[in-house]
């Protein structure tokens, strides 16, 4: 009985940390998007938009490396894209955290499941899939 109670308490802690992690990730990345958005608008407000046809070759920030390079130039659109990247990594960080917490709980089946999900996402990080 004492054992199960301890386990529940553990699960409870994990839930609270997971929730905090998700919220922090969303708040931080959306603040970056907002900041980048303001810079982008200040510099580009009069430019004419054209999104009628999908032109992937015009995309400046379509890889993680190009986003990092762009952020160093302080261009608004690069900062927005960096915020978007942080947002994408928020749920992924959640998986990494869950994986470690299952490791502490010695629930190896779910450690394996976490590794499988991260593996699938790593495959999607391979830019070649996109073309």
């Amino acid at each position: 009985m004492a054992e199960t109670r301890k386990e529940n308490l553990n699960d409870r802690d994990i839930q609270v940390i997971l929730g905090t992690l998700l919220r922090a990730g969303v708040i931080i990345s959306m603040s970056i998007v907002l900041l980048g958005g303001i810079i982008y608008l200040v510099h580009n407000k009069g430019v004419i938009t054209d999104y009628a046809v999908f032109k992937p070759e015009l995309s400046k920030f379509s890889s993680i490396a190009s986003i990092f390079k762009g952020v160093l130039t302080f261009h608004g659109d690069a900062i927005v894209q960096f915020g978007v990247l942080m947002l994408i990594f928020t749920p992924i960080a959640r998986i990494v955290f869950a994986l470690f917490s299952f490791l502490i709980e010695r629930d190896y089946l779910y450690v394996l499941i976490g590794i499988i999900i991260l593996g699938i996402i790593t495959i999607s990080l391979n830019g070649g899939l996109a073309h």
């Binding site: 699960d11 990730g25 969303v26 999908f54 928020t90």
Partner: protein
């Protein structure tokens, strides 16, 4: 149209989409895509890229609250995420080879289906019968706090639920939406989870599923900062306000009115797809 005007219009549209999407349970993604494509003439590939980013923002934001309350079943969520992430990546890859007209048609049908699902009265199928070997093996049976009492539940038909999630993930990756309606079917009707657990767990899974396809979209250049920025800020803000209002108001009438609007948008998407003008 100038960048400033475009940003403002999209921002207002996204605020509305997020607000209504959270009030009705449809989600912001399914509304922002028709707004961008039909209303502003944005190519559907860009609309999908922006929408998927907003799905990550809203689902992670609301999942944070649910997880803390202890209603979300993290094991079920992670187990099914294997299916949804594989599906999402496949869907995102297929999307590039698919003619935008076909994407619009599929989108329209899913939109109609989701709108009808929000109107249907939910029947609780939850069960205490823990005879499923797979559910026991994967430790999926669980409990959640309901008005101070701990409710236990058992999971049925794990393989069926897993397959349905594969399908839900594929559509999510293909169309840039959370596909919550399909996820809830898989968990409510097939796996027989209680509502509270299925809706919160579906929300929990959406972030990872959307992240998997968002990475593919990002590499393909479908996520344009100029569109993604007002869409994700607007949808997230609207959804946050919506979830606060939701607690205080009855939404039955609103759901019915909104379903009609959404079905109208869906028919227009289908018409544009069929006539080859998407």
């Amino acid at each position: 149209m100038s960048v400033l005007l475009f940003t403002l219009i999209v921002l207002v549209g996204a605020l509305l989409a997020g607000f209504l999407g959270s009030l009705t349970g449809l989600g912001g993604g399914v509304i922002i895509i028709p707004l961008l494509t039909l209303g502003l003439g944005v190519d559907i590939h860009y609309a999908i890229g922006a929408s998927i980013v907003s799905v990550i923002a809203t689902s992670s934001g609301s999942a944070a609250a649910y997880v803390k309350e202890g209603i979300t079943n993290i094991r079920i969520g992670m187990f099914l995420e294997i299916a949804t992430t594989v599906g999402a990546i496949c869907g995102a890859i297929v999307a590039v080879y698919l003619n935008p007209d076909y994407i619009a048609i599929i989108f329209g049908f899913i939109l109609i289906f989701s709108a009808i699902m929000t109107l249907k009265k939910k029947v609780d199928h939850s069960t205490q019968d823990d005879s499923s070997k797979l559910a026991r093996f994967f430790k999926l049976n669980g409990s959640f706090p309901d008005k101070g009492v701990t409710q236990t539940y058992a999971v049925k038909n794990v393989a069926g639920g897993f397959s349905m999630m594969l399908f839900a993930g594929t559509l999510s990756g293909l169309l840039g939406i959370g596909s919550g309606a399909l996820k809830v079917i898989a968990m409510d009707n097939i796996m027989r989870l209680p509502f509270k657990v299925s809706t919160t767990t579906s929300n929990f899974m959406m972030g990872v599923t959307a992240a998997a396809s968002a990475i593919v979209y990002l590499h393909r250049g479908q996520i344009d900062p100029g569109i993604a920025m007002p869409v994700c800020i607007g949808v997230l803000t609207g959804a946050t306000v919506g979830s606060k209002v939701l607690i205080k108001t009855k939404t039955d009438k609103l759901k019915a009115v909104f379903a009609v609007v959404v079905i109208f948008l869906a028919l227009q998407m289908i018409y544009k797809g069929l006539s080859g003008t998407m």
